[in-house]
């Protein structure tokens, strides 16, 4: 008996040791669980619904002013973070510029391993050599690359396990988006709409790197939406970039992605029509890539208003019914709540000053345009500017308060357009913008009621900000102004509670929060620095 007990103890010890010593094995179920395990942050928005809302409550409105820097990690490189880190079992995995990436000890900020991709010399990038983060499944990390590949890395060493090309970077294709893992697939898309690409969303087998499906965000002849392009080859250069991670509804098995602007950005005489599926949200079957529905925010966009914002999923009580919705603060300046089963508009109102559309028609779901906003060679003034009412910075949603928090930009621009000749590899926007001399841009964090699309409160910044947002169940919202302050506000009222000057504005990044050794950490990438905060011990 004693021997058996001893043997059993040994077996259990061995299993225990193996469990302790083994590499992280992230399952689809883990990702589906979202932030229920508070030691982890496993996908771009923390949860598949894109709410970026943490259940953690150790840091509260009452004690947030005591937050103290625990450590800083510096990349030692030129170029700012735009990534959301992945956190697993006390280790942080984060990507930086030029497809550098690091594994970092979450206790000390010390580097564990570093990955650096060998990139081609002359890449074609509109907006810097940035990357927005890893996805994770099993013991692998997945990253898109500037030369439009998908790579899988060994989570233990940062060693490449596979490297598959999505498209030819020499033709203007690139990739910066953090991939989305759904079941056994890695889903991502390409950027490059400023260089005449034809955008797409693509799914790969997470184990082999084999391509499973591709959905073109620019419809071709004979395809659904193909009649929204002229009967020319304009669709082959029609844009529709994917550069912000989508969300996933497991009940419907649908992924939702916001799509980029049509190409060329400002001159549109050669692409008459709505230009589907640019400046839209598309709902795709996660297994097949089949389009279930789409909603186009800006038909025939001529202001570079990519709809590449995070589609946030939630459930709302509307007229006595619980509706499954997607909430979307769009770059065109309108906030939308859409039924995510049917794709039909529920409510839409401006959340910043907009001068291009009177309203969004509830009958057609289309904007009712105002005159004199079509760019030409002499210039027309329109609000918002090309940066939009908001942009790629992640919003958050507090399902208890039913408030949507978004970094808003109050801006206007003079838009110009001309018939620019297309050349492969040359920026092809067909115009540009300038800020009028009398235009003062500013920003704010705004709380929006998604049932009415009305503003509940705002906290103003003197300049525009591109900071993402994180909210927590303790009643906090963390955001950043345009000048480098990390700011904590009371989520119900917008009252300022605490701020910390990080030295450089948060650009697309927002806080990530997790538990480690019994303490709640707030992790903030800003510029070239990753800073960890916690309450004093």
């Amino acid at each position: 008996m004693r021997t058996i007990t001893h043997a059993l103890a040994l077996v259990l010890t061995t299993i225990g040791l193996a469990a302790q010593a083994g590499p992280p094995q992230v399952t689809y179920q883990d990702i589906l669980g979202g932030l229920k395990d508070p030691t982890k942050w496993l996908t771009y928005s923390g949860t598949y619904d894109g709410q970026r809302h943490s259940p953690l409550t150790q840091i509260t409105p009452q004690n947030v002013h005591q937050l103290t820097t625990q450590w800083m990690f510096q990349t030692g490189q030129l170029g700012a973070f735009q990534a959301t880190p992945i956190v697993i079992d006390g280790v942080i995995y984060i990507t930086g510029v030029n497809n550098n990436a690091w594994a970092i000890d979450a206790r000390s900020g010390r580097q564990i391993w570093r990955y650096r991709r060998d990139l081609p010399e002359s890449m074609i990038l509109c907006c810097g050599p940035v990357n927005r983060g890893f996805a994770v499944l099993g013991d692998r990390l997945y990253m898109s690359t500037l030369d439009a590949h998908l790579v899988a890395l060994d989570i233990r060493t940062g060693t490449e396990l596979f490297d598959v090309a999505m498209e030819d970077y020499k033709r203007g294709y690139s990739a910066t988006v953090a991939p989305l893992v759904v079941k056994d697939k890695v889903i991502l898309g390409v950027a490059g709409a400023e260089y005449g690409i034809r955008g797409f969303i693509e799914a790969f087998d997470a184990r082999t790197g084999k391509k499973i499906w591709r959905f073109h965000t620019v419809a071709g002849p004979g395809e659904t939406g193909g009649n929204t392009w002229p009967r020319t080859d304009a669709y082959l250069r029609g844009g529709g970039s994917i550069w912000v991670t989508g969300t996933y509804d497991p009940e419907q098995n649908l992924v939702f992605f916001g799509t980029g602007n049509p190409g060329p950005d400002y001159y549109s005489a050669n692409r008459e029509g709505d230009n589907l599926f640019t400046a839209s949200i598309v709902a795709l079957d996660a297994d097949t890539g089949t389009l279930k529905w789409h909603y186009q925010f800006t038909p025939h966009d001529v202001h570079d208003w990519d709809a590449t914002q995070v589609p946030v999923l939630g459930e709302l009580p509307i007229e006595g019914q619980t509706r499954k919705v997607v909430m979307f603060a769009n770059r065109n300046g309108f906030f939308y709540t859409i039924d995510r089963v049917t794709g039909k508009l529920i409510v839409a109102k401006p959340f910043v000053e907009t001068t291009w559309a009177k309203e969004i028609s509830y009958l057609t779901g289309r904007p009712i345009l105002l005159p004199n906003n079509h760019p030409n060679e002499l210039g027309v003034r329109t609000c918002p500017d090309l940066g939009g009412g908001t942009n790629f910075m992640a919003p958050s949603y507090d399902p208890n308060l039913k408030l949507f928090f978004v970094t808003a930009r109050e801006t206007c621009a003079t838009y110009f357009a001309y018939d620019q000749k297309f050349e492969i590899g040359v920026e092809w926007m067909g115009g540009g913008t300038v800020r009028p001399r009398d235009q003062r841009n500013w920003g704010a964090l705004r709380a929006i009621d998604p049932i009415t699309a009305e503003r509940k409160w705002e906290f103003r910044y003197p300049t525009v900000s591109a900071s993402g947002v994180l909210s927590t169940a303790s009643g906090l919202v963390f955001a950043g102004d345009g000048d480098g302050n990390l700011i904590a506000l009371e989520s119900q009222s917008g009252k300022h509670l605490w701020h910390y000057m990080t030295g450089v504005a948060l650009r697309n990044t927002s806080g990530t929060t997790y538990m480690l050794d019994g303490r709640q950490y707030l992790l903030v990438p800003s510029g070239t620095t990753l800073t960890a905060f916690a309450l004093p011990q």
């Binding site: 020499k170 001309y418 540009g432 001399r437 701020h499």
Partner: protein, 264 residues
């Protein structure tokens, strides 16, 4: 290697060759600019000019924060113009450009299509009297070389950076546009002290200023009783009663001589 793969590779070769993005040239491409006089190119050049150059040189190219191009370009050959756009102007706000050769050439085609006058921006005022006017009226706030104040912008290079008309406008009506770093602010501290100065920087919670005594100081907004962003510049309006047309002409004559090489 499978046959299919060989075919794919053969097909790929011309695509890759086609895909080489033209590298921007340091100097004007050989031969005459093919876009000169071409209506479509000029239209494109107009847009690119307005987007890339208009903020400083003015939408009509008659100068704003940058020189009046209708004057400056009169005697400048295309080769030098191309290089100026490509490499920028050291020591000025004009930075090197990564525009494609095509884009630079159509901007030049647009500029050459304007009614560019000969370089007639000769100094007409009496620069010596202008210097005396400057010393008496401007030097307490503006610096030339190693003398003068620091509350207003340094004018050591103003002669190469501003057109005649923009200098007139900035002297007669300085509140129309206050450059970044020189916007007027008034602070009232909690103990009632009123401070006027120019804003050097600002974020959501703090402001950094230079006060009228040239003291640099930062303030927490929450600790101020009042913070007003003034619509009028700290620089007074020099109307005709304060500065005659003749003295203004002389002053501008003097300012036009300032091109960075100052008497020390």
């Amino acid at each position: 290697m499978t046959v299919n793969r060989m075919i794919a590779l053969l097909l790929l070769v011309p695509v890759v060759a086609l895909a080489q993005a033209p590298k921007p040239s340091e100097t004007h491409p050989p031969g005459k600019n093919p876009h000169l006089g071409n209506a479509d190119s000029i239209k494109g050049g107009l847009v690119l000019y307005r987007v890339r150059c208009g903020n400083c040189h003015g939408l009509d190219a008659r100068g704003y924060r940058g020189p009046d191009l209708t004057v400056a370009l009169g005697g400048m050959p295309d080769e030098r113009l191309f290089q100026t756009i490509r490499k920028g102007v050291p020591g000025s706000d004009m930075l090197p450009s990564s525009l494609s050769d095509h884009e630079v050439l159509i901007i030049i085609a647009y500029l050459r299509n304007m009614n560019v006058s000969a370089p007639v921006d000769t100094i007409t005022g009496n620069a010596e009297n202008g210097r005396a006017v400057f010393t008496a009226q401007c030097a307490s706030c503006h610096r030339v070389g190693e003398t003068g104040g620091r509350l207003g912008p340094d004018l050591s290079r103003i002669g190469s950076a501003r057109s005649h008309d923009s200098l007139v406008s900035e002297i007669r009506t300085p509140s129309e546009w206050m450059p970044p770093g020189y916007e007027a602010v008034t602070l009232v501290t909690k103990d009632g002290q009123k401070i006027r100065g120019v804003k050097k920087n600002e974020d959501t919670f703090t402001i950094q200023i230079m006060d009228a005594r040239e003291r640099l100081q930062g303030y927490r907004k929450a600790e101020l009783q009042q913070l007003v962003f003034d619509k009028t510049s700290l620089m007074p309006e020099y109307g005709k009663e304060r500065l005659t047309d003749s003295d203004l002409n002389d002053l501008i004559g003097y300012l036009r001589t300032l091109r960075g090489s100052t008497t020390r």
